[in-house]
């Protein structure tokens, strides 16, 4: 296994991102929307990954369980 080509991804952050995206989809409260968007941005920065890449990770979790 070539560790230089791999990246450890914190599962909690991937799932927190996924959950925030889902909540954001139906949220109407502007304060909560702002807070969610800020946290999503923080997670993307922390993981150094785009939303698409994080979504890909979350979907891998889904496909492996269901």
């Amino acid at each position: 296994m070539n560790t230089t080509q791999q990246k450890l991804v914190p599962k909690q952050l991937v799932l927190e991102h996924a959950k925030l995206v889902a909540e954001l989809s139906s949220e109407k409260n502007s304060q909560i929307l702002l807070s969610h968007r800020k946290r999503l941005s923080e997670i993307e920065t922390e993981l150094k990954m785009s939303s698409e890449q994080i979504a890909d990770q979350a979907l891998s979790i889904y496909k492996s369980r269901y």
């Binding site: 080509q5 791999q6 450890l8 909690q12 996924a18 139906s26 939303s51 979504a55 891998s60 496909k63």
Partner: protein
């Protein structure tokens, strides 16, 4: 922080003790953009349903179930990742959540079937639904993934306006 290892050849995370997934380097993940693509986009569905009160109502029903399903799935997975199955209470909570999620999953699949059938009845293109079937009937996992992709795509497409 708990981490997990994603291995392209070994993706079974049913074993929750496996908290490490390895993924290939970020620079090798250019496939991600393409992978976050539902079989049909929300915008395309809106275009198909536009002008028909019945179809618009059925589309909203599918979208409503998609949001709820995404919330349920990620809440459950987060519970597991946070060690929620380490206690009897946690296991009971998970079981309740999973039962509710299964019922919601059924409703989601039904909402896709009804939407697709009524689109066809109105003489419009419902060929996209074939990708969610095994050739005969809708597949539960494919429908679930379709819902999750739709919600992710909504976020990704709208973030420029955020």
């Amino acid at each position: 922080m708990e981490k997990f290892e994603l291995n392209k050849n070994e993706t079974n995370t049913n074993d929750d003790s496996n908290q490490e997934l390895t993924t290939e380097a970020i620079e090798h993940m250019s496939h991600s953009l393409e992978s976050i693509k539902p079989v049909i986009s929300e915008q395309e569905l809106r275009s198909i349903c536009e002008g028909s009160d019945g179809l618009e109502m059925l589309l909203e029903s599918f979208l409503k179930y998609s949001v709820r399903y995404a919330n349920d799935v990620w809440s459950m997975e987060k519970l597991v990742a946070d060690g929620g199955l380490n206690t009897e209470d946690g296991i009971a909570v998970f079981a309740d959540m999973d039962e509710a999620r299964t019922i919601l999953h059924n409703a989601l699949v039904d909402s896709i079937a009804i939407l697709s059938r009524n689109i066809a009845k109105e003489g419009k293109d419902n060929s996209w639904v074939r990708e969610l079937t095994n050739g005969h009937e809708l597949q539960r996992v494919a429908c679930g993934k379709f819902a999750l992709l739709t919600i992710y795509r909504r976020y990704i497409d709208n973030r420029q306006n955020i």
